[in-house]
């Protein structure tokens, strides 16, 4: 029954060292997951690297090896300027979104603020609103010409200088930060949920103020989540397209996504240049991930789910709860309700008109009728639902195994796995779509032109999110909880299914929700990969937008927000039934 281990080392801390035992479900599953990850991630990665060294090609001029792309991407002050703008914008966005998201996560999980049950779903709404709509709503709200806020200040207070200008770096950071704060919210909420409250209580008893506890204990213990959130937000910020295009462009604020966009949308399509830009991002992200992958090796510094009593609970913040409730209400009004109302208003019109008594007479539900009459509407929704649910589930399960390997074992080279699964974060959507398209056109296993290839694209695209969500929760699980299951004689698979997954619940659910929400909106690779009959919601949104059917788009946005909002409430209720219960 004994088997030798190839591992000659003497130092280890976890269960993972048993990695030499004869055939076992564990190795089958782990091996399978590794193969799948490698398969999924290497195709676009290889394509990206290859393209970044290839010149553009046409039928007449074949591609050749070149360093030109890098020279163009990083050689001129112009493109460096774009890069710099991007970095400023991304940093600002990430910082703002992180602060906001973390604050709400804290309020939601740690305080007795009133209306909390609405918090979770409400906080995620900005993420549901399609980026274009969200940005346009903000143009309507805070543009110097027609912005409602500005008008209010102009009319009511007689101001001549307008307080808000959405067309500025600050405006861009504001809009994008608000839009992506839910990412931080979800990640940090998950981390806060898996925290033995006695750690905070003991700080309180040491005389620390609520704020000191938050900064010195809660946030420090949630450090992996915060780091992960920042990394994701930063990369997202750099890749952000709608906000710079809609808000930066009119005032000449250009970022490097515009350069990628131009490169990709010309003929011959300069995928190489786009790839070269992406390679820079790849580098930044790798550094971030490398740093994160070293966190778990620092002992149990972040294990906050221990086997000695664990009762999540909120603390009473006294009168401050009215302040936090106030902030939350303001947030709901300005970030959730107003854009939503703008959409709702628009959806009830025949054309967009600023709210007025006159326009009130034109209210109609015609737009909703048009949306429902969209050819194959129900099929489209059904396709999106399948892809979103399927993709999210596959990603979260797959990455939970990968995270277990990278965090709970000492297998050499496990960081490579982490990298592989995390790097798709920086693949431009079109590059991802193209690589899959080209690969499966030439290596025909019958998935090209079906929903499967889209599923695959979604899985690849959202793997990195799954990784971050799962790993932050995984780090928090104290190893003894698995060890005690192993001592009970449970096999690895059983331990994973019955102990690890339920304890991962906060991260698992947060990631699952996030992926569902954003996959409904995924466009850049969907549009390349979908086939007749496989239309999805994002294509429909794009269609409305392209045709200038702003009203229908608003109506659809309203329907989508309502549907996803209800979905979130249901999930929130159901998810209380498994995993660690809240107090």
């Amino acid at each position: 029954m004994a088997v030798t281990t190839p591992d000659g080392s003497t130092v280890h801390t976890s269960l993972g060292q048993g990695w030499g035992r004869s055939f076992d479900m564990k190795w089958v599953i782990i091996g399978l997951c590794i193969v799948v990850i490698a398969w999924l991630a290497l195709i676009p990665l290889g394509f990206l690297i290859w393209q970044s060294f290839a010149s553009t090609s046409t039928a007449q001029v074949p591609a050749v090896f070149t360093l030109e792309n890098y020279a163009t991407a990083f050689g001129s002050t112009d493109s460096l300027g774009l890069m710099f703008n991007s970095l400023k914008f991304a940093f600002g966005t990430a910082a703002f979104a992180l602060v906001l998201g973390t604050f709400f996560a804290w309020v939601n999980e740690r305080t007795n603020t009133p209306f909390k049950s609405l918090f979770f779903a409400m906080s995620i709404v900005p993420l549901i609103i399609p980026g274009i709509l969200f940005t346009v709503s903000w143009i309507m709200l805070a543009s110097p010409q027609i912005g409602i806020f500005n008008q209010i200040f102009r009319d009511w207070f007689g101001l001549t200088t307008l307080p808000f200008n959405i067309y500025s770096l600050t405006g861009m950071i504001w809009v994008d930060g608000l839009h992506y704060a839910p990412i931080a919210f979800l990640l940090v909420t998950a981390a806060f949920r898996s925290m033995d409250p006695s750690l905070e209580e003991s700080a309180l008893m040491s005389g620390a103020s609520v704020v000191q506890v938050a900064f010195k204990i809660t946030l420090k213990l949630a450090w992996p989540a915060i780091l992960a959130a920042f990394l994701i937000l930063f990369v997202r910020g750099i890749e952000s397209f709608e906000v710079p295009a809609l808000l930066g462009l009119p005032v000449g604020l250009r970022v490097y996504t515009s350069a990628i966009y131009d490169a990709v949308h010309s003929y011959p399509s300069d995928i190489g240049l786009a790839s070269a830009y992406a390679m820079a991002l790849l580098l930044i992200t790798s550094l971030g991930i490398y740093y994160q992958s070293r966190l778990p090796s620092q002992g149990s510094r972040f294990s906050t789910v221990t086997g000695k009593g664990f009762r999540p609970r909120v603390s009473d913040i006294g009168r401050w709860r009215y302040a936090t409730a106030g902030i939350f209400i303001l947030y709901c009004i300005f970030v959730v309700a107003l854009p939503f109302l703008v959409l709702l208003w628009a959806s009830l019109q025949k054309y967009y008109a600023a709210p007025s008594w006159a326009a009130l007479h034109n209210l109609s539900f015609a737009a909703y009728g048009k949306v429902l009459a969209y050819p194959g509407f129900y099929g489209v929704v059904w396709n999106s639902a399948k892809l979103a649910l399927g993709g999210a589930t596959v990603v979260m399960l797959l990455t939970s195994v990968i995270c277990w390997i990278t965090i709970k074992t000492k297998i050499p080279g496990r960081w490579v796995l982490d990298m592989l699964a995390s790097l798709p974060l920086v693949f431009p959507g079109i590059v991802l779509g193209l690589s899959l398209m080209i690969f499966y056109l030439n290596f025909d296993i019958g998935i090209y032109g079906t929903l499967w290839i889209m599923l695959m694209a979604y899985v690849i695209k959202f793997l990195p999110y799954g990784m971050r969500y799962n790993s932050t929760s995984m780090i928090q699980i104290h190893k003894e909880l698995e060890e005690s299951a192993a001592m009970s004689g449970a096999s690895w698979f059983t331990i994973f299914r019955r102990i690890v997954l339920p304890l991962l619940k906060p991260g698992l659910m947060a990631g699952w929700i996030y992926i569902i929400v954003v996959s409904v909106r995924e466009l850049s690779s969907s549009i390349l990969l979908y086939s007749p009959g496989n239309e999805v919601i994002s294509i429909m949104i794009w269609e409305f937008w392209q045709n200038g059917q702003y009203i229908e788009l608003s109506a659809f946005g309203v329907m989508m927000i309502t549907a996803l909002f209800c979905f979130l409430m249901v999930v929130q209720t159901l998810s209380k039934r498994f995993g660690v219960k809240d107090a």
Partner: protein, 365 residues
């Protein structure tokens, strides 16, 4: 200094029936005193302590510290835990895993209102770490400590802040006797020197007896007796206390007669002489408590005296180091006895028993 009146705390989990974990608790602790909550597992000690700390919100009652009301259900007053300036050791230690040993212990000093210089903090922390014998691992990550070391760190962290009120929840449960003695000594020293008012939760009777000025014995969420250690031990208010505070033999019987200030009680093991007590008349059914260490054993027959004398058969014996525990059958009733290790009678043999009338406690029935 601390007074607790009619305190009740209920746990309410969604979908489960509420658990009344502490009910109608009353006690007060004068400044500088060490007060112990003693009781069996699950009796509500931790709950009471957490309610005093402000970590649980009681359902009713009043808690005053230094004449300030920190909680009052009627007055709707609830002072946040971090404004109560109490120090606490948690039963689960609650060591911060992301800090080193030193950082854990220094935290209360770093966050307190009164700013201390880095050097002052260092001095104080090292002093208290030395007191709990952890100064040699000050730079180690707190999670890389053994169970007992973590517990000592938790104690150090509570002591370093010299709180107005110290709440200790089983602070020594994972320490060996030697170290526990040392810690108990350090604790007592600091407690007396600094005049720290302390509430001490323990399940260990001898610890409670050795440390406390006053003890409250709890059972099923209620306080069943409050008194000095000697009181509790020698005059248990009811069978639960007598039983809990130490092993004891309960013998039921009927009062047969009496002479001078002695009563004779007829029991299943035979006639016992007992000190007379007001209100107990001949014919009354009574219950007697006799502690095992008061059942004197001898290998040979003792000289006659006022003691009640019996002969029994040794059923079992356990060696406990400083003493031996015997189970002895006397007239088909079992008696527990604790004797010096020098008693050599073997299992199955006959042994002589003497019971001092002074040591038979007549319990309220």
């Amino acid at each position: 200094m601390l007074s607790v009146e009619n305190l009740s705390t209920t746990y309410q989990a969604p979908g489960a029936k509420p658990v009344l974990a502490a009910s109608n608790i009353n006690f007060s602790v004068p400044t500088g005193r060490l007060f112990t909550l003693l009781g069996p597992s699950g009796c509500g000690k931790t709950t009471t302590l957490r309610s005093i700390a402000g970590l649980e919100r009681p359902s009713k009652g009043v808690i005053k510290a230094h004449d300030t009301v920190v909680y009052s259900s009627a007055g709707n007053i609830f002072v946040a835990p971090n404004h109560r300036q109490f120090g606490m050791v948690f039963q689960s230690y609650a060591i911060w895993p992301h800090m080193t040993v030193f950082q854990n212990a220094a935290f209360p000093l770093q966050v307190q209102k009164k700013r201390l210089s880095g050097k002052d903090i260092r001095d104080k922390v090292m002093k208290v770490l030395a007191a709990v014998s952890l100064d040699h691992v000050e730079q180690r990550e707190a999670t890389r400590l053994s169970g007992g070391q973590q517990q000592r760190l938790a104690l150090a962290r509570a002591l370093v802040m010299e709180p107005r009120l110290l709440l200790l929840d089983e602070p020594l449960s994972n320490l060996d006797a030697k170290l526990r003695d040392k810690m108990r000594f350090e604790l007592k020293k600091m407690q007396r020197e600094l005049g720290l008012t302390t509430i001490y939760v323990t399940h260990d009777q001898s610890e409670a007896l050795a440390l406390s000025h006053e003890i409250a014995v709890m059972n099923e969420g209620k306080i069943v007796q409050v008194g000095s250690p000697r009181d509790i031990y020698e005059r248990p208010a009811n069978t639960f206390v007598a039983d809990f505070i130490g092993t004891t033999n309960f013998v039921e019987g009927t009062v047969r007669g009496g002479a001078d200030d002695r009563l004779v009680v007829d029991t299943r093991i035979g006639q016992l002489n007992v000190n007379a007590q007001p209100g107990i008349s001949i014919g009354a059914n009574v219950s007697l408590s006799i502690r095992p260490e008061d059942v004197h054993l001898s290998d040979t027959a003792p000289a006659p005296s006022s003691n009640s004398l019996f002969v029994g058969t040794v059923r079992a014996k356990v060696f406990l180091g400083e003493c031996q525990d015997f189970k002895i059958d006397v007239n088909e009733t079992q008696l527990l006895a604790r004797a010096h290790p020098s008693v050599r009678t073997l299992v199955g043999e006959q042994i002589h028993i003497a019971i001092d009338p002074e040591k038979c406690t007549l319990l309220a029935a």
